[in-house]
């Protein structure tokens, strides 16, 4: 780790740092302890903003704009150069987010996304310079090779879903398409392993293990490299943190680092509060009143089919754990349902283990945390699955039907569907919450357990208010009687 001296006033660096740093190694910069925290918080705002954007399913064009705005708003700095703040904040957050698998995964995704869109904003020359820093060992496809597969290359270029590209990409493709006819465009022949995202999106022609990557897709290559470097670096950082730094810095950096990680992620509902205990009989009652749509659907299907596939068991099971369902009760609950379909014995043999695993009683004893909205929205339910986010994964018809069962109709229904059309799935859920409960929800829903807790709080409040009203009415009546 770099040398950091407390309470130094000057920031200096004698090295020439390019505009878009690759964070390959921690440079020997000095920074004030205050800045250590402040810079990190500003960067965290950017990363959080990106996280929100992704979970709302923003298109690449929109993400590009968002990243630009977030960076401008948070990362400009007066006393130090912007680059220094960039580098320092990145390395501080590495410390914060290296410590568990989940934190690493989140950080990796956000930093890679940030890098991708910042890279795209650079000039072509700057991009080429950055590319050379990555030392990509690929050759351009020879003329002969290109001739052979020309038809296929054209076909792929035409098949790419243009809604997934930014404006800049699309223009390039239009140019490259006509240039293809002259076979002048350059394609890199790259082993398919190096461009997993292009392969996954079927955005390249692959032949005998080689992907033909167009020049403008090279971003993907660079981003993959970036991600891979950062992933390894995070593991190393964690090792250093646990072995030396945490102890060394326990009076200075460690408290800051530990505070930073919890402050922005919000409660993860892994430790349900004591008062929120719930029994099996309660579940049926509260399912109707306080479950968000995703969990209602899973719950209904479970009752109907007496079965759920793995994805559904995880999503619903962890949610119930967060709600306060104890392990013994959970086992009884799932057994009662599954027995109708597979029998009690088979349940014990095949499914009980999984439930115990969720509660951290088996295997490596990880106490799994209930899924957040972002995670659920990004899941990919397949045939026979019922998990995922209904606002995203249901057809309009099915969603309307499900919502009207919840009591949403008329104008509100249209407002919710409008949000869905604009891919604001969490806003749609928030709106549903507001309609169902007759109140406003300013914080916005970003976790199914949050929906549940807020709902229960409102209902309790209503009950209290209701009781109070009853008492008041009774008193009033008795006054009137007295008066008469």
């Amino acid at each position: 780790m770099e040398i950091i001296h407390p309470k130094k006033t000057t920031l200096s660096s004698s090295e020439l740092i390019p505009t878009l740093p690759l964070y390959k190694s921690a440079p020997p910069l000095e920074v004030r302890l205050d800045d250590f925290e402040l810079f990190a918080i500003d960067r965290l705002r950017v990363l959080k903003g990106i996280s929100d954007g992704l979970s709302r399913g923003k298109k690449p064009d929109e993400m590009q704009k968002l990243v630009d705005e977030l960076w401008r708003a948070n990362m400009r700095h007066q006393n130090a150069s912007e680059v220094t703040k960039d580098i320092i904040s990145h390395f501080v957050l590495r410390l914060v987010y290296c410590r568990t698998d989940e934190l690493r995964k989140w950080f990796l995704t956000m930093e890679t996304t940030l890098f991708r869109y910042r890279f795209k904003l650079e000039t072509l020359d700057a991009q080429r310079a950055l590319m050379s820093e990555f030392e990509l060992p690929y050759k351009a496809a020879s003329n002969a090779e290109r001739e052979n597969v020309k038809d296929k290359l054209i076909q792929v270029a035409r098949s790419i879903d243009h809604s997934k590209l930014t404006a800049a990409d699309t223009i390039y493709f239009k140019v490259s398409y006509s240039a293809l006819m002259d076979v002048k465009i350059i394609y890199m022949k790259v082993p398919f392993e190096e461009v997993p995202e292009l392969v996954a999106g079927r955005r390249v022609f692959i032949h005998k293990g080689y992907a033909y990557v167009a020049m403008n897709q090279v971003v993907s290559l660079v981003v993959t490299q970036f991600r891979s470097h950062l992933s390894k670096a995070l593991v190393l950082t964690n090792r250093k943190w646990t072995s030396t730094i945490r102890e060394q810095e326990k009076d200075r950096l460690t408290p800051i680092v530990e505070a930073l990680s919890t402050s922005y992620l919000g409660p993860d509902y892994s430790q349900p509060k004591e008062f929120a205990e719930i029994s099996v009989t309660d579940i049926n009652k509260v399912a109707n009143s306080s479950f968000p749509l995703c969990m209602r659907h899973l719950f209904e299907k479970l009752k109907e089919d007496h079965h759920l596939k793995h994805g559904g068991r995880m999503q619903l099971g962890l949610f119930l754990k967060g709600v306060g369902l104890k392990l013994e009760d959970a086992l009884a609950f799932w057994k009662a349902e599954f027995s109708h379909k597979v029998g009690a014995e088979r349940f014990d043999k095949e499914y009980a283990y999984g439930i115990r695993h969720n509660y951290g009683k088996e295997g490596k004893r990880t106490d799994y945390t209930p899924y957040s909205c972002q995670k659920i929205i990004l899941s990919t339910p397949g045939a026979g699955d019922h998990h995922g986010c209904p606002y995203r994964h249901f057809s309009e018809e099915n969603l309307r039907a499900a919502l009207s069962k919840m009591g949403v109709g008329g104008r509100s229904m249209e407002d919710v569907m409008e949000k869905v059309r604009n891919r604001h799935y969490q806003l749609a859920c928030t709106l549903t919450f507001e309609v169902v409960h007759g109140t406003s929800c300013d914080a916005g829903i970003n976790h199914p357990n949050q929906y549940f807790t807020d709902s229960q709080n409102i209902l309790k409040l209503k009950l209290q208010v209701g009781n109070a009203l009853d008492v008041a009415v009774a008193l009033l009546r008795s006054d009137i009687l007295l008066a008469i």
Partner: protein, 425 residues
């Protein structure tokens, strides 16, 4: 080598059993049959050779620890499941299997260290016990197609719906070879209602989880379930060459020649409504519905009613009369929905996923999980796959010798595949 062990088997059969009397074994599966099977038929040595990938040799480049770092897991009688079994030699593997007589054997990844020693390494978050190699695998299960087959459902398969598996094999095998450049691919019958695929090239074994996820995404076309409306959406001015190839070489012909008439996809109102639902143009669907509700029997022509209705549908959509947006590729979307392979994505994405070993016997059907030659997959018939009892019967009768032509003893196929690719790995 195999001919020698072949002789041994026939001799042993002769010594222990009364060769002249045909002993009819009761159908099904039980532990004593299994014991005999593991004793005389299960190809322990071949599995070892396969899993060693050449490291069982003597020259200096061989990694002696390689086989010992592979995880096997057993499901024993009484559903006891034990993981992280590992062995250092063919003999150890063989004696363990014969000893424990597992109802099912799964194969996991090759780890960084011998799984038996994993506890010494998994300290904190510094996980040095981690998978380092694992075949790229695929699992296709007929029950994922229940919404497009009417002949069976759930665990059953028959010759009417089996073509769906044939399609999956052809599409995936071609793509793995032509697009991804893999060569050493083993297809195996899962014993009941599906097929497994093992891609054994070194390059495949060394793929990371992210790369495996990318490959499965490349294959993914069918998105959604009963909750979403349209499950196959082929947008864009052109289709990716891989999809075009799959369609023109496999999907279309199987759909029109086998599935359409075999599953009677347009014969009744209930069935044709499901297809009409995939057409986003009310005018077109109304017209077709009208025609079909009137002509419940095709009057003059001897052509199958499903085939003729399909021609009508194609004509309506492709004639150019209607110019709706969603109609451009409607015909292809319908064909894809009913035929395109449906993979269990999670199986392929993770290196640590355990998959059943070839040549296990399925406890519910008694059928042996035999390899399928992708070049002859159209001839494969799941209803005639040897069962534990038929194999043992033959063994009793003193010969598994000349019956190779009939394919009743399929180990030759396995030997061919194994020796063909093991040598080149």
């Amino acid at each position: 080598p195999w001919s020698k062990s072949h002789q041994e088997i026939s001799n042993k059969g002769g010594d222990n059993m009364d060769v002249n009397q045909r002993v009819l074994l009761p159908e099904g599966f039980n532990p004593s049959y299994l014991k005999l099977y593991y004793g005389k038929l299960f190809p322990h040595a071949e599995i070892f050779k396969w899993m060693s990938y050449g490291n069982d040799g003597k020259h200096p480049a061989c990694d002696q620890s390689y086989f010992g770092r592979r995880e096997f897991s057993y499901t024993l009688e009484n559903d006891i499941y034990i993981r992280f079994q590992s062995f250092n030699s063919a003999a150890q593997l063989e004696s363990s299997i014969k000893n424990k007589c597992p109802f099912k054997i799964d194969i996991g990844p090759v780890y960084s260290v011998d799984p038996a020693k994993r506890h010494a390494y998994a300290q904190g978050s510094d996980n040095v016990f981690t998978p380092v190699e694992r075949e790229l695998v695929f699992d296709i299960d007929m029950s994922d197609y229940d919404d497009v087959r009417y002949c069976c459902s759930g665990a059953d398969v028959c010759l009417e719906c089996w073509p769906l598996m044939t399609i999956a094999i052809k599409v995936i095998d071609t793509t793995l070879r032509d697009d991804f450049g893999f060569n050493h691919i083993l297809w195996v019958y899962s014993g009941r209602r599906g097929v497994h695929c093992w891609v054994c090239d070194g390059r495949a074994r060394r793929l990371s989880n992210e790369q495996r996820a990318a490959i499965t995404e490349y294959f993914r076309v069918y998105k959604g379930n009963e909750n979403s409306h349209k499950k196959v959406s082929l947008t864009g001015p052109a289709l990716h060459p891989f999809l075009v190839r799959s369609y023109t070489e496999v999907l279309n012909s199987f759909f029109e020649e086998k599935l359409l008439p075999g599953q009677k996809l347009l014969a009744t109102e209930e069935r044709f409504e499901k297809i009409l639902q995939l057409i986003p143009d009310d005018a077109v669907t109304a017209e077709l519905r009208g025609k079909w509700l009137e002509n419940r029997r095709s009057s003059i022509s001897r052509e199958d009613i499903n085939v003729s209705r399909w021609q009508q549908l194609k004509h309506s959509l492709q004639s150019g009369k209607t110019k709706g947006h969603g109609l451009r590729r409607c015909v292809e979307e319908i064909v894809f929905s009913y035929t395109y392979p449906r993979l269990d994505l999670e199986v392929s994405k993770h290196m640590n996923h355990l998959l059943k070993a070839p040549f296990c016997v399925h406890p519910k059907t008694g059928r042996v999980c035999v390899p399928i030659d992708p070049n002859k997959c159209e001839e494969f018939d799941p209803t005639t796959v040897p069962t534990l009892s038929t194999l043992l019967e033959e063994l009793n009768m003193g010969g598994l010798s000349e019956d190779i032509e009939n394919g009743t003893f399929v180990l030759t196929l396995f030997y061919t595949i194994v020796y063909l690719f093991v040598d080149k790995l």
